[in-house]
């Protein structure tokens, strides 16, 4: 292969991208070297197995991916703003919507939520860490390298361009030649391994490591939604793994699972993809529901309404999510009977979802609402998400879906649920738990500015798209017709509004790092109800020195009432903690090298890389490091400092 085939050439935007990458990387290397931070980076972050730090790394990566996906989105909206725009050519537009969709779902939404779960779930259930901290680090690095692999495609080799759904036969070797589609397959594969491992890890953590006395039906609702999400992950992700593997074998080794030749079954891909893909959308929305439930109860200063019903709705939604995948291709001609069945199963999801909505309203009823930024995001979620929900029901009516399918009506719908659901929750959750992560809050004033820009921008951007869709504008076209101009233009303006909101959000991170007051109290908002707020700030690396015997529903509320803390001197014992390890990052670096080689179909190199991965596993299995003990004296010291007891 020639060098000019290796690097993508000929596009000014991409040259810009290359320059930016080189500049940013050099700047990072320079800063790290200049301030002598390499050891710090390695010891404190890259080799950490602490769930809180891993969570922070997840969230930082997800924010970076939100930026990348957002830039893609703005480029598309610019291209569609005027009917005769010549900003992106067809091929380039295809690459941009493909990477946008994939990055947003796989590398932004999921890791963001997994990051929040990482930080919050062990704290909420009174655990010291994940059940398998080493595996947790491995998962993170799998996701991270998967994301990097996917992201370099735009400068090296070329981006995938068959949509985030990657339907065959279009995505097969014949119609999508070159490495682009392989980046998609292997980037997702690598990240998917991480997600699956996290699913197992978190499930075991929740089932086995809950503090003694915390019954499942006393568990905070975010932890519940995480538990159910883990079940979905465990059942759904293997399907994706297999589908990706089959398509990879098709493309790289010439098998014919999904090809037009050799009596392949191209439509089987759509089936497998959505068998994973529909549950996937619930993987990114159920944790969001959990986050909103926590925040709404906290700032309404009222107990969550209908806790049991909330839990059961999550469980029922999760179950139904495996029974509706055909609604993504009602138009495949499976016949009226099949479509009727899936139509009804799809609409049925509205019932438990409706229950949740009304329970949130029930929580707000007779409450005392405090309008902090996390609460604003959560409140805005309710009406916005309902607008996405009702259009979802409309899409579920198969006979009507024949008109909605593949149109902007659909684009508007899924952005309404993904943004008002997932993205709002990510922002809300991040702001809410920010003091637990970084020891200070985000500035509320800036937070509100970013909220209003984003919220208004969001509606201005996506509301008109329902109507463009009903007027017959299909999705994924790279320029629009003059009759759709006005609404498209409004939509683009809205998109930039969201961009401004996001920019303010990011600036707020910097601003607050410099100017926000440091926290002194663990219960930063003063309204905490669940166990994570019982920890002091900064949270000690072992989380809890001691725990009360009985943990009921809203455990921290009871503790406050009884004057209990997580530092009971009488009960102190030494704490066993796992050691840091460099192996996860090294192992995943090697596997990502193997994947990179496979992207370019350098099979020998890929085999060598895979072999390296196996060697790392063998090394790991001879690892006798049992971790270390935090002794009582040290716990005393840490707790006294964190609780400000030293100067008494």
């Amino acid at each position: 292969m020639e060098l000019d085939e290796f690097f993508v050439t000929g596009e000014p935007l991409i040259y810009g991208g290359m320059v930016a990458i080189v500049l940013v990387s050099s700047a990072i290397i320079f800063i790290l070297t200049y301030f002598k931070k390499w050891t710090w980076l390695w010891r404190d972050w890259l080799t950490t197995v602490d769930h809180k730090k891993i969570g922070i790394m997840y969230i930082l990566s997800a924010l970076a991916m939100l930026f990348r996906g957002g830039m893609d989105a703005l480029m598309m909206r610019v291209q569609l703003a005027f009917p005769d725009m010549n900003f992106l050519a067809a091929q380039h537009y295809d690459e941009v919507f493909t990477t946008h969709g994939t990055v947003m779902i796989i590398f932004m939404a999921m890791p963001f939520l997994i990051g929040l779960m990482n930080i919050v779930v062990p704290l909420q259930i009174g655990a010291r860490d994940f059940a398998f901290p080493y595996l947790n680090a491995l998962s993170f690095w799998a996701f991270f390298f998967g994301a990097m692999l996917f992201n370099i495609s735009f400068v090296i080799g070329g981006s995938p361009d068959a949509g985030w759904t990657s339907y065959t036969p279009l995505a097969g070797a014949a119609m999508s030649p070159g490495p682009g589609q392989n980046f998609y397959l292997l980037g997702l594969q690598l990240a998917g391994i991480g997600t699956l491992a996290t699913g197992i890890n978190l499930m075991v953590t929740i089932l086995k490591l809950r503090a003694p006395g915390m019954k499942l039906f006393k568990m905070p609702i975010f932890s519940w939604s995480t538990l159910i999400t883990c079940f979905i992950i465990i059942f759904a992700f293997p399907i994706l793994t297999v589908a990706l593997a089959l398509l990879t074998i098709d493309r790289v080794f010439g098998s014919q699972f999904f090809t037009l030749t050799g009596e392949g079954l191209p439509m089987m891909w759509a089936n497998l993809f959505w068998l994973w893909g529909h549950p996937e959308v619930y993987i990114v929305v159920l944790p969001a529901f959990g986050i909103f439930s926590e925040i709404i109860a906290a700032f309404a200063k009222k107990r969550l309404f209908g806790y049991t019903a909330m839990v059961w709705s999550i469980i029922i939604i999760a179950g139904l999510s495996f029974l509706v995948w055909v609604h993504h291709f009602f138009t495949m001609g499976a016949g009226a009977f099949v479509n009727s069945v899936f139509s009804i199963s799809t609409m049925l999801i509205a019932v438990p979802t409706g229950v949740k909505i009304f329970n949130w309203l029930g929580t707000l009823h007779k409450s005392k609402i405090e309008f902090t930024t996390p609460m604003l995001w959560s409140l805005a979620f309710i009406p916005s998400f309902v607008m996405g929900g009702v259009t979802g029901v409309m899409l579920g009516m198969a006979a009507a879906d024949f008109q909605f399918h593949n149109s902007y009506f659909l684009v508007a719908h899924f952005h309404y649920v993904l943004i008002a659901g997932t993205v709002f929750a990510c922002f809300a959750g991040l702001i809410y738990w920010y003091p637990k992560m970084f020891n200070h809050k985000l500035n509320e004033r800036l937070g509100k500015w970013s909220f209003w820009f984003f919220l208004i921008g969001f509606h201005v951007c996506f509301f008109p798209q329902y109507f463009i869709g009903l007027d017959g504008m299909p999705r994924r076209i790279f320029y629009s017709a003059p009759e759709w101009f006005t609404l498209n233009f409004i939509s683009t303006v809205g998109a930039f509004g969201m961009g401004v909101g996001f920019a303010i959000f990011v600036y707020n991170i910097y601003y607050s790092l410099r100017y926000s007051e440091r926290e002194t109290d663990g219960d930063s908002w003063g309204v905490g109800r669940t166990l994570e707020w019982a920890t002091p700030t900064p949270v000690p690396h072992y989380n809890f020195a001691t725990l009360p015997e009985h943990l009921g529903y809203d455990a921290f509320m009871d503790m406050k009432e009884n004057g209990e803390t997580t530092y009971d001197k009488k009960k102190l014992k030494h704490i066993h903690m796992p050691s840091n390890s460099g192996k996860p990052i090294i192992m995943m670096a090697i596997l990502s090298f193997a994947s990179f080689a496979l992207v370019f179909e350098w099979v020998t190199l890929a085999a060598i890389g895979l072999f390296g991965g196996i060697i790392m596993m063998i090394i790991r299995s001879f690892d006798y490091d049992e971790g270390y003990h935090v002794e009582v004296d040290e716990i005393n010291e840490i707790e006294r400092t964190a609780r400000g007891l030293n100067n008494e």
């Binding site: 009222k302 495949m332 009226a336 399918h405």
Partner: protein, 318 residues
């Protein structure tokens, strides 16, 4: 406290704006301006569902607005309006489980009915046999074969009004979807299998049709016009083409199949004579011939479609 006011005003604004948008645009939007019985049944179904959706939206929005305003944390609130320990109410929870179930049922019935209706030609034209048209998608053009008339068109379609058209859909390449929003919803075209879509035009006119399912670089350009005219005019057109248009040879057909964008063509015979892409045997016909053709891009931009259109051997017929 003044951001709370904004909050409430903003939602009202959204609802009003939404209504205005909606009411002003409704009858102009293609989907709500059906030109035949199929599109009409779908438009009716959507309209029917919209009543429920607006109902739900209004209930939730009003409840939300009232609650958020009433229970905000403000001074001088009555003591008994704050009850931090309520955790449920069986009766009301049953109500909001039962009502959605009723709504889903009321939406399911017409959905299922319409679904079964769409399996057959529209009842209003039961007196005539449907006109059979094989609609084959290839990257990135449309072939319409009229077996009864013995003609084939590329990238445009003539149909008679007041008579059902039975589209037999298939694809020579990647998956596509035939969509003529004014006449009704879409269905997929897939290689190696055949799907059937019934549509009908009641009003003469020219309608936009296209491939709605993304299938690569030329996707945006894979469009066609539908000329709906009364049956006499349609017959005249078909007869004229049968006499004047050139025969479609396999050689020309293969050239047209080459991935790319082409102009309109008309032929006085159909490609069904040698291949039916809707059967297993026709599945690999195009990909066998053009396996490597996708390695070169068309460099399709907003304003260069005309230049990169393939004009095949001057056989172009407008």
């Amino acid at each position: 406290m003044n951001h709370k006011k904004h909050h409430y005003k903003k939602w009202l604004m959204f609802m009003l704006l939404g209504m205005i948008f909606f009411l002003s645009g409704c009858d102009q939007m293609t989907v709500f301006d059906p030109k035949g019985p199929v599109a009409e049944s779908q438009s009716d179904l959507i309209m029917y569902s919209l009543y429920y959706m607006f109902g739900i939206l209004i209930v939730v929005f009003v409840a939300f607005t009232v609650i958020v305003i009433k229970y905000r944390d403000r001074p001088n609130r009555k003591k008994d309006s704050y009850k931090p320990n309520i955790h449920g109410n069986k009766a009301i929870e049953v109500v909001w489980i039962v009502i959605p179930i009723i709504i889903v049922t009321l939406l399911s019935i017409p959905t299922v009915n319409t679904l079964f209706d769409l399996e057959d030609p529209p009842e209003v034209s039961n007196d005539k046999d449907p006109l059979v048209v094989y609609a084959t998608s290839a990257n990135w053009k449309w072939f319409f074969s009229y077996p009864e008339q013995g003609i084939e068109t590329v990238n445009y379609l003539h149909i008679p009004t007041d008579r059902a058209v039975e589209f037999r859909l298939s694809s020579a390449g990647s998956m596509a979807a035939l969509w003529i929003p004014a006449l009704g919803g879409q269905k997929y075209n897939m290689a190696g299998m055949q799907t059937t879509l019934f549509l009908q035009a009641d009003e003469p006119g020219v309608y936009d049709g296209r491939n709605a399912n993304f299938n690569g670089e030329g996707f945006t350009e894979q469009t066609f016009k539908v000329y709906a005219e009364d049956s006499q005019e349609f017959q005249d057109w078909a007869n004229k083409k049968k006499q004047s248009a050139p025969k479609l040879t396999q050689d020309v057909y293969d050239k047209l199949l080459k991935p790319g964008i082409v102009d309109r063509y008309t032929f006085s015979s159909t490609h069904l004579a040698w291949v039916d892409h809707g059967k297993m045997g026709g599945m690999d016909y195009a990909v066998d011939r053009y396996f490597n053709a996708y390695e070169t891009l068309m460099h399709l931009e907003t304003d260069n479609q005309e230049e990169i259109k393939d004009h095949i051997d001057g056989k172009q017929v407008k």
